[in-house]
Symmetry: C2
Subunit: 210 residues, 2 copies
DNA sequence: TTTTGTTTAAAACGTATGTTTGAAACGTAT
DNA sequence: ATACGTTTCAAACATACGTTTTAAACAAAA
């Protein structure tokens, strides 16, 4: 179908440009130019720029959400009532991300970039959208963390969760840039997997800090 | 002087609006309206919107930079050759921030917001600006961390430094929003100092994770 | 082939933005 | 008091944006 073709081309271009420049700084004209489609196609297929932004999110978060939920379900079924360690919880989430972004290197950065933008930027319509659509996964992960760190008081646990989120979103979204510095400064290359390999122990140590 | 008055009113308004909405989403008209000055004043006093953004940064980072440098100098003079722990290093930085943002509650969030935006957003002119103007402080703090964590390999230390930066920038910049959730969800209020009190141990544990 | 609904195309619309202009108001030193 | 450099002001300018419109191209069914 030519319909789907145009829609996908728009989503691909938008996803990339949003991550590069942010939402407000990315014009529909640059998106349609990159996608090689007509300007009016965005408003025709998505209705508005706002809806396009949300559509880009859905394409990312939807599969991620389902993947993590499914793998957690599977683990719970095989090990009923088991308590996961912080490291294990993070691995489940990281695996979900890896699956969603698989194939395209750099798509992890785009994912994180969009997440960070949605969290910080915006007049709230994106945040509200995230909140209403994906709270159940948030609650589930939070419950797992709570079981893994029973000695922690809930408020501090809440904040540590967001410290983790911030460390991940901030660094992984600027990964390309930060990796370039590593290459220049340390004369070593650095794969995405290595960075995640550095990140998870950092996060796990942080959340179980005494 | 009426000159300085207008300049300061513009900087105050811009700082706040930039932090609330981001750079591109904040118009000069909204800034001048909030400041109660004429629209043309921005271009008259600063030359352009870009220069205004940089001026807002300078007003923040300049004093912060000098404060941290000075307090580190003082400590080095009193305890020559001493090795600071990660916690101590973070305290020095945190104290510098507290001093710069003192008086205005919420100015810490603005500070972090701007830092995050400069790091993630922008076509590079801000990042280049930060890089050229404030690398010496970065190098100094990085050296202190290196001495505090000699067992860490330099590349992983580099990444952990940015994990810390990310955790701080992300959470503290959204502090207002996150604190509101805490109040709603846990029926407890949460001061800025408490959040920083939660943050520093998290960061310290992360950077010395084995 | 004709018809009907869907998708693309080019152009235009209205609005909001950053910037510039030229005159008025201001403060200050002579 | 006058003259001069500085600052303010209202208005206009050019441009870029999101969106709408109208017609053409297309695909599939009758």
């Amino acid at each position: 179908m030519s319909h789907n073709d145009t829609v996908i081309k728009i989503l691909d271009a938008a996803e990339q440009l949003f991550a590069e420049k942010g939402f407000a700084e990315t014009s529909l004209r640059s998106i349609t130019a990159k996608a090689g489609v007509n300007l009016a196609a965005v408003n025709y297929h998505f209705g508005s720029k706002k809806s396009l932004i949300q559509a880009v999110f859905v394409r990312f978060l939807g599969p991620f959400y389902k993947l993590v939920e499914a793998s957690l379900d599977a683990h719970e079924k095989q090990n009923p009532g088991s308590i996961l360690s912080p490291e294990d919880i993070l691995k489940f989430v990281a695996r979900g991300m890896a699956s969603v972004t698989n194939g395209d290197r750099g798509r992890l950065a785009i994912f994180m970039r969009l997440l960070g933008l949605a969290y910080n930027q915006g007049q709230g319509h994106l945040r509200k959208f995230l909140k209403t659509e994906y709270t159940s996964l948030y609650i589930r992960v939070m419950d797992l963390i709570a079981k893994a760190t029973p000695e922690l008081n809930p408020v501090e646990r809440y904040w540590r969760f967001h410290f983790m989120l911030g460390a991940a979103a901030f660094t992984l979204s600027s990964m390309e840039h930060l990796r370039a510095i590593v290459e220049y400064e340390f004369e070593t290359s650095c794969t995405e997997e290595e960075v995640v390999g550095y990140l998870l122990p950092f996060l796990a140590a942080g959340i179980r800090a005494s």
